[in-house]
């Protein structure tokens, strides 16, 4: 931890938004500290659908959001190509989609400046043979998929290069207010329990669905409407192109190819507490029923797991209507920068809520413009022009990149630890070198180990072995404990994702893996006899 705690700005929340705000503040010369209660990207940013929006999903209902999406889509392709796979997107008209929506779609795109081209249906079927043959019309838009963790890392790296800091596992537990000013903030180290007090000049809350909790620390009300969305991961890329239904956005109407898998989403359901929600079997069944309108064979494909995230939906108090309460989709996806000076009389506090991952940079720019105005800083925003660190201009991600890089270095046997995602031992070693003290979950997010079709059944155990070997080499005291945590944590997490979808081949696979670990490997003997570590969120089957 840095010795000087003299920061201009404290940013709370290490999701995409917080990382973007940190970067922008740092580039404008403000010494900033970002804190995140867990690892980066463990909030909504790590549990989202993975779509780089073209804006097509919003053209009819929320033209402002659509316009922002396409503008940021173009910028992100330029500044963060390695985090993006340029899959392209289809908006397809199935027999269930209303003609008037389909007929007006191109005009609506044009009005919002979203590139849209109608292509012959036969071309789409040739490119994506798994599509429903009854699809009548297809439009092509510049959708993509975007990897959140690498994106956050790049933003943080840029901020660090500009003299700012970012700390993980630091939870904001309180702020002290003296009249109209926040005078200090108290952080708790979530691993050691130690407490730090800092005295920033300004506080920006980027806590997403948790923003209400942060504001409440200084007696300010920010009413969030956390909206849970559930997604299903399939064990194969049945499509290489993002596929959307061409209709008013709804449940189960979009499939996003992400690395070696494809993800169907989403749903929308109000939840009271963003840390506690459940996934029901009915919800899973309904998603599949809708998804079958895009890919008729979906019901027969193997599901790997279900997961959910909570949207940071917000509406200014006056506009909260009964209708919006009923259907979360009617709240604008466009973001709101809340100036707590004007609203609540706290002069050095701003909250940024709403938005999308796609627009995180723009959200940051709007927020930092306001902060700078208040602090008398006149530096302009440069985040749209400067390419992020660890990114090569024009080089977007593609599925075969790891294999290609390996081949370029001479190929041959690769010392693969994770066959599904092509993670080699040197890659894992390198990650561990760069992230001392990281958890196996951090490893998973950082390398994608265990995220492919076997869902960590084999590679987790290898990753744990390597972690143990390295810890032993440096004489660490808790070698065995960290390996235990790796194995148990991973198996628990895997099980949790399987539970709401327990059926067919995925249940069979789950049974085999638990048979291996519990039978021959005696995994239960590793469990310390105490209550399992309370998990951050409860994703659970309704009972």
């Amino acid at each position: 931890m840095g010795d000087s705690h003299a920061y201009d700005v404290l940013v709370v929340g290490g999701g995409a938004t917080g990382a973007g705000v940190l970067r922008d503040l740092a580039r404008r010369g403000l010494r900033t500290l970002l804190i995140e209660r867990d690892d980066f990207g463990t909030g909504t940013t790590g549990r989202y659908h993975g779509l780089l929006h073209s804006g097509g999903r919003y053209v009819a209902k929320d033209a402002l959001a659509a316009r922002e999406c396409i503008a940021e889509n173009r910028i992100l392709r330029r500044i963060a190509p390695a985090s993006i796979e340029d899959t392209g997107g289809y908006f397809v008209a199935t027999p269930d989609d209303p003609d008037d929506y389909v007929d007006g779609f191109q005009a609506a795109c044009a009005a919002a400046d979203v590139d849209c081209e109608e292509i012959p249906v036969a071309d789409a079927f040739r490119a994506e043979p798994a599509l429903n043959p009854r699809i009548r019309r297809v439009f092509r838009l510049p959708d993509g998929s975007v990897e959140p963790w690498q994106l956050i890392e790049s933003n943080v790296a840029d901020a660090r290069a500009h003299g700012s800091d970012a700390w993980t596992y630091q939870r904001l537990v309180g702020m002290e207010r003296d009249g109209g000013r926040i005078v200090s903030a108290t952080l708790r180290d979530e691993r050691s329990g130690s407490v730090t007090r800092i005295t920033p000049r300004f506080v920006v809350s980027c806590a997403g669905a948790w923003s209400g909790q942060i504001a409440a620390m200084v007696d300010v009300t920010v009413t969030m409407h956390p909206g849970k969305g559930t997604m299903l991961i399939f064990n194969q890329r049945m499509t290489d192109t993002v596929v959307n239904r061409c209709h008013k956005s709804s449940d189960g109407d979009i499939m996003v190819p992400v690395h070696t898998v494809a993800i169907l989403g989403t749903t929308e359901q109000r939840v009271e507490d963003p840390d506690r929600y459940e996934i029901t079997r009915d919800e899973v069944a309904a998603l599949i029923r809708e998804g079958e309108k895009l890919f008729p064979d979906l019901g027969r494909m193997r599901l790997l797991r279900a997961y959910a995230g909570v949207r940071p939906l917000y509406q200014p108090p006056a506009e909260v209507t009964a209708a919006a309460m009923k259907d979360g989709r009617q709240i604008s996806r466009a973001h709101t920068v809340i100036d707590h000076d004007a609203m609540d009389g706290v002069e050095n506090f701003v909250t940024i809520v709403g938005g999308k991952l796609t627009t995180f940079r723009r959200m940051a720019e709007d927020t930092v413009d306001l902060v700078c105005a208040k602090l008398g800083v006149t530096e302009p925003c440069t985040t749209a022009d400067a390419i992020l660190p660890n990114q090569v201009p024009g080089k977007t991600y593609w599925l075969g990149h790891r294999l290609a890089e390996h081949e370029a270095e001479g190929g041959g046997d690769a010392d693969l630890l994770c066959e599904c995602e092509f993670v080699t031992r040197p890659m894992l070693d390198d990650f561990l070198d760069r992230h001392p003290g990281c958890s196996i979950d951090d490893v998973r997010r950082g390398t994608r180990i265990g995220m492919g079709p076997c869902q960590g059944g084999f590679c987790t155990f290898r990753a744990a072995g390597l972690v143990g070997e390295r810890a032993r080499r440096v004489g660490a005291a808790d070698v065995a404990e960290s390996a235990d945590r790796a194995i148990l944590g991973f198996l628990r997490e895997r099980f949790k994702g399987t539970r709401p979808i327990a059926a067919g081949r995925q249940l069979q696979e789950q049974w085999m893996i638990s048979g291996v670990y519990e039978g021959g490997l005696g995994v239960r003997s590793l469990i310390e006899h105490e209550t399992p570590e309370a998990s951050r969120e409860v994703v659970d089957v309704h009972r």
Partner: protein, 440 residues
């Protein structure tokens, strides 16, 4: 089209045991399986009742037999007979099993640095079981470049008292790694590749020397050496004997993640016994349909890509395993089906299948799901009425057992397979033998 007296569906411990015994009675037996079984995934021992409360397998059987609906309630008395019957068959196939129902259950160290309860083990693993003497050391010997066995991590874990439930354990645990000839520059070594190399006598002579040097480099004397379970397939007994002779400490194998080499040896020995007794084993036959005429099964049909294959039969042993084997199939709507005969599946409602924590000590209710039978292993309906006269159910498909958690799956599979065969081949007074009676 072909014809058999008895068709066995499933090539796991249950199905192959049944097949050996049926074949030895002189009947024509035909084993059909879509693929390999739990043998290839499991540790290759014969777990009869490895529950924490039990002192010996016999004690464990008694305790499990007292639980409501456990198959040991009607199979328990036959476990000893089935075990003693199978032992020479396995030995003839090159795998000797040590231990019996009165061997104390002990904690055996595993390749993730944990322990599991066992009493009956193949000779290659048996050295792990004896009580540890004061001062006795354990050396974990890994193979450089092999990614399914991490000696440092295993040793660090096994050095902890709690892994041994606070009881008897080695005094020290040390890790070493050995470079085996020709393997070092190769990556992606898997257990089967290495086992294959061990079967080669010239290669293994050098390998054993290398292992002996690595083990010899650890200060101290005596104790035991844990090696990954890769010590050959065909030549395993010879390899084990050579290592026992050459090493300063007693060697034993630690089972690994699949494919399980000890399990493959077990499967190979069982299969060989079926064939020696005159039976047939065909892997790669996915049975899609079983035909029956009222209460009697008449034929099984497999639908391969290019042809359908029908075997007419006088009787059927259904040993298709549980959820892992494919004998039970869970539908998305929450039904649990036995897909071949549509037998009544005893199962909790879908919302109660799985508990929240993967490792909840209570065990998931779904583990108990399966087919109910009468004491002759004939499947019964919910009201207890038997459904088919010439069908027997064996193995993990039987309801009422937590085969992994309670470590009773092998005992149930072995004994039910053995009993199913007896039931089908016994000649009740005044009747023709059941299989023969249907010979077309």
């Amino acid at each position: 089209m072909s014809t058999a007296d008895v068709v066995v569906i499933g090539a796991g411990l249950a199905g192959l045991t049944a097949a050996i015994r049926v074949a030895e009675s002189g009947a024509r037996v035909h084993v059909l399986a879509k693929g390999h079984a739990a043998t290839h995934w499991g540790p290759g021992g014969i777990d009869v009742a490895g529950i924490p409360a039990a002192s010996t397998p016999r004690d464990g059987i008694r305790r499990l037999a007292g639980e409501p609906g456990h198959p040991y309630a009607f199979l328990g008395d036959d476990v000893a007979a089935a075990l003693e019957w199978i032992r020479p068959h396995l030995a003839a196939g090159g795998v000797e099993y040590l231990g019996d129902l009165d061997t104390p259950l002990g904690l055996v160290p595993t390749s993730i640095g944990g322990t599991r309860r066992a009493a009956i083990l193949p000779a290659g693993q048996a050295a792990a079981l004896a009580p540890w003497a004061v001062g006795e050391r354990l050396i974990i010997c890994g193979i450089r470049g092999f990614k399914d066995f991490w000696p440092e991590a295993i040793a660090a874990s096994l050095a902890r008292e709690r892994i041994w439930e606070g009881g008897n354990r080695p005094t020290s645990v040390t890790a070493v790694s050995v470079v085996l000839p020709g393997l070092a520059p190769r990556h992606n070594l898997n257990a089967l590749t290495i086992a294959g190399r061990f079967d080669d006598p010239a290669w293994r002579a050098t390998a054993i020397e290398a292992i002996a040097r690595a083990v010899g480099s650890v200060p101290g004397s005596g104790g035991r050496v844990a090696l990954p379970a890769v010590l050959g397939i065909r030549e395993h007994a010879a390899i084990l004997a050579a290592l026992q002779k050459r090493l300063p400490a007693a060697p034993f194998e630690m089972p690994l993640v699949p494919p399980s080499v000890p399990g493959i040896r077990l499967y190979t020995a069982l299969r060989a016994a079926v064939i020696r007794a005159g039976g047939r084993v065909q892997i790669g036959e996915m049975i899609e349909r079983v035909e029956h005429d009222g209460r009697r099964v008449t034929a099984v049909v497999s639908a391969a890509a290019v042809r359908t294959y029908t075997v007419r039969t006088g009787a059927l042993v259904l040993a298709t395993g549980g959820i892992a084997g494919g004998g039970l199939v869970a539908e998305r709507d929450g039904r649990l089906l036995e897909p071949l005969l549509g037998l009544t599946v005893e199962a909790p409602p879908a919302d109660d299948w799985l508990l929240v924590d993967a490792f909840d000590p209570a065990g998931h209710p779904l583990e108990l799901a399966g087919i109910r039978t009468d004491a002759e292993l004939r499947p019964v309906a919910a009201d207890g009425a038997s459904l088919f006269d010439n069908v027997r159910v064996a193995g993990s498909l039987l309801a009422g057992q937590r085969y992994v958690r309670d470590r009773c799956g092998d005992g149930v599979a072995l004994t039910s397979g053995w009993r199913a065969a007896r039931s089908l081949t016994a000649v009740p007074a005044g009747h023709a033998a059941e299989p023969g009676s249907e010979r077309p």
